[in-house]
């Protein structure tokens, strides 16, 4: 589904991503864990085309997408839930969801997916005429996820979905991530909350200062001494 090969990303002189390779297979939940500044968001933004790599390639179903403008990548079946949610605060919940389906022309399919999103997030349906800026943090996260789902993605990138949420909501969000995955969407998840991320992930990679230092199944990494010391609090 998604394959990252020898990716290098620079901000001016600083090399933020130093030659990383990983892949996400059909139907998986894969997570990248790592501390602040490890390069997680940079990796995500490079995959979705917002940043251009210095070298290396990102293959989506075999096509190198590093030269494709980001608004076209969405139409190829890759949607991103950005860090900090970034919902359109001045537009209603409904308008936000409609924007998620911006590139699509299939009216019936859009209506169908809108129904599915409301089924997944009943709270959004209750608040559909409200401005997105007036929602709580958890609701905004749900809206950002629902909005990405409206693009009918084959693979969904999620950047720190649990950031700033209460433990109860974090659980809820991770339950929904599993739900989305079971309904057929492949997920690439970036998280600082390593414990929760490893619990839902099929496979995981550890990113440290721009390099992948460890990889394995979610359970393997959760059991690894190194990961437990660095990310799981002993």
């Amino acid at each position: 589904m998604l394959k990252v090969e020898n990716l290098v990303v620079r901000y001016g002189m600083i090399e933020a991503i130093k030659n990383i390779s990983f892949e996400v297979r059909d139907g998986e939940i894969v997570t990248l864990i790592g501390a602040n500044g490890a390069g997680k968001t940079t990796t995500m933004q490079t995959i979705s085309g917002l940043l251009k790599p210095a070298s290396g390639a990102v293959y989506l179903d075999g096509t190198d997408i590093t030269k494709i403008p980001p608004h076209k990548i969405v139409t190829m079946g890759l949607a991103q839930v950005p860090e900090g949610r970034r919902v359109f605060a001045q537009q209603t919940v409904l308008e936000n969801l409609e924007l998620g389906a911006y590139y699509r022309k299939d009216k019936n399919g859009i209506a169908e997916d809108m129904k599915n999103v409301f089924e997944l997030f009943p709270r959004l349906e209750e608040r559909k005429t409200q401005l997105a800026g007036t929602l709580s943090g958890g609701e905004q996260q749900m809206l950002a996820m629902g909005r990405a789902l409206m693009a009918k993605p084959k693979i969904m990138l999620m950047d720190e979905p649990s950031m700033g949420l209460s433990p109860l909501l974090v659980k809820e969000i991770f339950r929904i991530i599993e739900d989305i995955n079971q309904r057929g969407t492949t997920v690439l998840l970036v998280e600082q909350n390593a414990k929760m991320a490893l619990a839902v992930a099929d496979r995981a990679y550890v990113l440290e200062t721009g390099k992948i230092t460890l990889e394995g199944t979610g359970a393997e990494l959760a059991a690894s001494e190194q990961v437990r010391k660095a990310y799981l609090g002993g």
């Binding site: 608004h71 900090g84 919902v87 308008e95 590139y103 800026g133 709580s136």
Partner: protein, 292 residues
Amino acid sequence: MAFLSYLISGLGLGSVYAIIALGYSMVYGIAKMLNFAHGDIIMAGAYAAFFAMTAAGMPLLAAALISMVICTLLGVTIERLAYKPLRQASSLSVLITAIGVSYFLQNASQLMFGSDTKIFPSVLSGSFSLFNGRLSVSYLSVLTIVICVVIMSVLTLFINKTKTGKAMRACSEDKGAAVLMGINVDAIISITFAIGSGLAAIAAILLCATYPSVYPTLGSMPGIRAFTAAVFGGIGSIPGAFLGGLMLGIIETLAKAYISTQLSDAIVFAVLIIVLLIRPTGLLGKKVSVKV
């Protein structure tokens, strides 16, 4: 009665400012830049209409159409050549570039058409009287006000109801997130420049119908006043541009009538300063509050 007649001509003048202010405000709202060449697009529109009517002998409506097409193309071309390469640059670089484009257009037109003032053909003269002839209202004022209200209504509907309009609002809020929705931000910016420049052509003709002289720096003063109107009403806001334009036109006309012609600009800008001291975002400017 005199007051009422000043008020109506103020509304007429204000409507022209409002139409120009829309161009500034929409471009600012979406591209987050002040397009100081906007006034000079008005000038280009005035020349286009002038030559279409005098040299080609076209009727007013055809000339207006030609003028709109030329201004739209000019606006989109300027954006592509001068502003698009600066998308990642600091806002100061973009501002200086816009001022440069403004001078370029003024000098290019002086080179092509000469610096002499050309007299715009009289297009809509005459007036009708009300209250047994005590109040005389020019057709032009009424037409200008009507056109302005129509433009404002159509544009508001467009922004709120159409898919492109919603994409424009999304770009105005967060371009990075808009791209992730599959919105082609460059295309949206082009559309914005096209609309703003097309409106500048309409403003050019209405302006020349009132002050029938065409010369290379024709757009500067109306441009600056309309920019003031956009800031006054709250830059980035469409109703703000409308309200700001009308207020500015009325204040200017009343100041000219009752206080002093020479001081009218000073009075207009004094009012602007006072409004901005009290409401830094302008009359209808948004105070953004976002929960995190």
